[in-house]
Every structure is written in structure tokens, then in C-alpha cells.
Symmetry: C2
Subunit: 215 residues, 2 copies
DNA sequence: CCGAATCCTGGTAGATACTG
DNA sequence: CAGTATCTACCAGGATTCGG
């Protein structure tokens, strides 16, 4: 039983020993959007084998990145939640996601667009230097799911579900509608004109949005 | 033959498909210090199976992160070198290394301290906000190997081997000598007094060094 | 000696079925 | 809902061998 270690006194090697196995970082990514139940995680990771998910959650809990918590009575469910230690991985995940996004033009056949993958896309494309000092909330409706983006003190929080008090609601009406805005393939005016997106709120905020989130 | 993909349109998932396998990121880490031969890589990754190293280099070359180049005549050797695309992984590696370093107090039994792992430690502990605008070169002699650190325009370059014109040479005379400085376990004056490090050049620069590189 | 390829073993992932 | 159990296929680890 050779523990799968790299035998080096190196932060990167240690990190890879903890979160370097297949699926682990994607589970952490999904938990960045908030606590999730086992079934939520399965939904967000459509092709993960269930035994692997359960093994990874166990490892993450042992390593102190995740806590397993039973919800109080009426829910009678188990939720998995990141610890602060686990949440500290966010900068590294964002850096990786940004690197990986460079070769990502269009979805491959069969590739899913999940709420968490889009949430990650907002994190990786967020340009804090554009948003500095601003406070603004967006609700992005993607058809199958809705995300809430809140910018405050120059930092971004992404969650799954509607925004309680959005300054702007952006609704995707066509595939790649929001994506085309973020890559610059379409200007806000073009996207509004051809009906690929629709907004509620002050339409001018859409310009701010495309400057803030940019591939 | 299910290609090992994650089935998600997500930058992080794509990144993991390219560099998520065991050893891959450590190979990239080692190549960050400059081109390396197959044997150099084996030396820097003491426990990697040789077939895995050769497989990973092939994959990295196919993915466009690494080029394989035959040196001209007298050397008659092959060197592997990062492409710009591969080098762009550095911020992500640094972010991961920084996260992993938090649980890294002392080497585990049998754990090697290689030139590249120390080079990585300097990259992850580098605080650009301290060094802003400065230009300074350090040579760090660790016993088995020597590193050169050059700071210019606020950005750090780390290489293996002596520095051609160092402002300060730091020589480690005892185990953990430099490490104790970087964690703050010892002040520069203490380390110089107890003989765990020795310097050549202006000794005051050692204070700057410990402010610049900090776990 | 450098740069691998080959072989074998055991562990890990993938797919699906099943259960408290 | 929240996982185990089981089986197969593949990949990593380790040693050895091989060609230039």
C-alpha cells in the first residue's frame, strides 16, 4: 500500500496529493456556489460515477476541505459545504479555469452547460479592475437555471438561483446569447436587437456587464 | 474507448483534461525553470516512473504545452521546453503551490528537496507588492544546488544555477537555514549569528530578501 | 550514457445495479 | 435520497530491456 505521494517537499506537490485526483477540483468548484446535497452534486456533475463522488467527498472531508452536515428536521437531508480551507482554493481554481477557457470556443458534442460551469465562467472572466468600488447585482437567466452575481467592494460573489434585488436581469433567449456578449462576438446593442438576450432594469447596465465579464 | 473527458463546457474541466493527470503539473513546474533534458526531469522528479514521464511528455507535446528540440551538434541531446501556452500555466501553479504550502511545515520522511521545488517555493512566496519597482539579483546556494533569483520591474524570474552578477549571495549552511528565514522562525540577524546562513554582498539586503519571500 | 519501450502487477476509474 | 456493491477496463508503479 504505497500512499500515492510525490515524495517532494513542495507546495504544489502537496496540493496535488490532496486535490489532484480526477473529479476532486470539479466538486470543489461546485461547492463554491454554496452548500450542496449529494443529489445536487450528481446533477451538477452529470457523468461522475456515484462511487467516485462518494469516495471524493469522504477524502475531502478527511482532508478538512469539506464538512458534512445533516440539515435539521423537516429537510432531513445531508449537505456538503466547503470549509474556509477549501474555499481558499478559489483563486487557484479561477487561475486554472482562465487558462483552460482559452481553448474553449464552442461546446463539444454532448458537453453539458451546467449552472456551476457558468458560475465558474463568471468567476474566471471577472475583471476586478473594471468593477472597482462599484456595487451592483445581476440576475442571469440561462433557461434551465438562473445565477445571481453580486459585486461589492470590488469583489464578486456568485450563487445559484435568482437575485433578491437585481439591478439588472439578463435573460438568455438564444443559445450562446450571453456567451457571445462575453467574448465580444456581439455588442450589447446587437444582442438586444436580434433578440438573443433580453433585459429588465436599466439597459445601460448591460454595457457595464460586458466590460466586467470578458473572456 | 471513452476518452477521459468531463463532459462539461467549463474552463476548469478543460484544463483538467489537459493537465489533470498525475505528474503532469510537476513536469510543467520543473520546465518553468528552463529547458530540461529527459534525464534532468528524472532527476528533478526522483520517484516518477520512466514510462509515465515519457507518456506525459508526449501528451504535453501533443497538447502544445511543450516542444521537443534536439540540441545542435556537440551536445547531441534532446531538450524539452515550455511553449508560451505552457508557460501561461505559471499563475495557476503558483496559486496552487501557495495553497498547498500552508500545510507544509517540515519535510516528511524520505521527501526530497529538489532545486525545482525550492524554485517553486520562491515563486509562491514572492510578494510583488514588497518588491515593487526594485531591481535586485540574489544567488541562493542550497548545498546540492544553487538558484538565481532576479527581480526586475516588480516581476520575479527564477532559474537553476548561479547568478551571473548577484547583489547578494545567500548560502545555506544548516538544514532549514533559508526556510527558517522565510517562515519568520528566525530573523536575519539570528540566522547570521548562529551560522545557519552566510551571505556575500551587502548584508542589509538580507532584510529585503526576507520581506520579499515570505511563507 | 541518454531516451526511451516493454512487461507485469495492482490500484483506480467507469458503468450499472442495488439497498437502508 | 444518499449512498454501497460489483464488475470491467484502464492507468499508474516498478523493474527490466533496448536502440542510438
Amino acid at each position: 500500500m504505497t500512499a500515492r505521494v510525490y515524495g517532494q517537499f513542495c507546495g504544489l506537490a502537496r496540493a496535488m496529493e490532496v486535490v489532484g485526483e480526477r473529479w476532486t477540483l470539479l466538486i470543489v468548484r461546485n461547492l463554491l456556489s454554496g452548500p450542496q446535497r449529494y443529489t445536487d452534486l450528481r446533477k451538477g456533475l452529470p457523468t461522475i460515477p456515484t462511487n467516485i463522488l462518494s469516495a471524493r467527498l469522504k477524502q475531502l472531508e478527511e482532508a478538512g476541505l469539506v464538512t458534512r452536515r445533516a440539515l435539521p428536521h423537516p429537510e432531513r437531508a445531508v449537505v456538503y459545504e466547503l470549509t474556509d480551507y477549501g474555499r481558499d482554493l478559489e483563486p487557484a481554481l479561477v487561475a486554472f479555469g482562465r487558462w483552460g477557457a482559452r481553448t474553449m470556443t464552442t461546446p463539444r458534442p454532448g458537453e453539458a452547460i451546467t449552472a456551476e460551469s457558468v458560475a465558474m465562467a463568471f468567476r474566471t472572466t471577472y475583471r476586478s479592475e473594471v468593477a472597482r468600488g462599484a456595487t451592483v447585482g445581476y440576475e442571469v437567466r440561462m433557461g434551465d437555471f438562473t445565477l445571481r452575481l453580486q459585486i461589492a467592494d470590488g469583489s464578486l460573489t456568485v450563487g445559484i438561483g435568482p437575485h433578491p434585488a437585481p439591478d439588472l436581469v439578463i435573460e438568455r433567449l438564444a443559445d450562446q446569447g450571453v456567451h457571445a456578449l462575453m467574448t465580444g462576438a456581439k455588442t450589447p446593442d446587437q444582442a438586444l436587437a436580434d433578440g438573443s438576450v433580453r433585459v429588465e432594469g436599466e439597459p445601460g447596465l448591460l454595457h457595464r456587464f460586458v466590460e466586467t465579464f470578458r473572456f
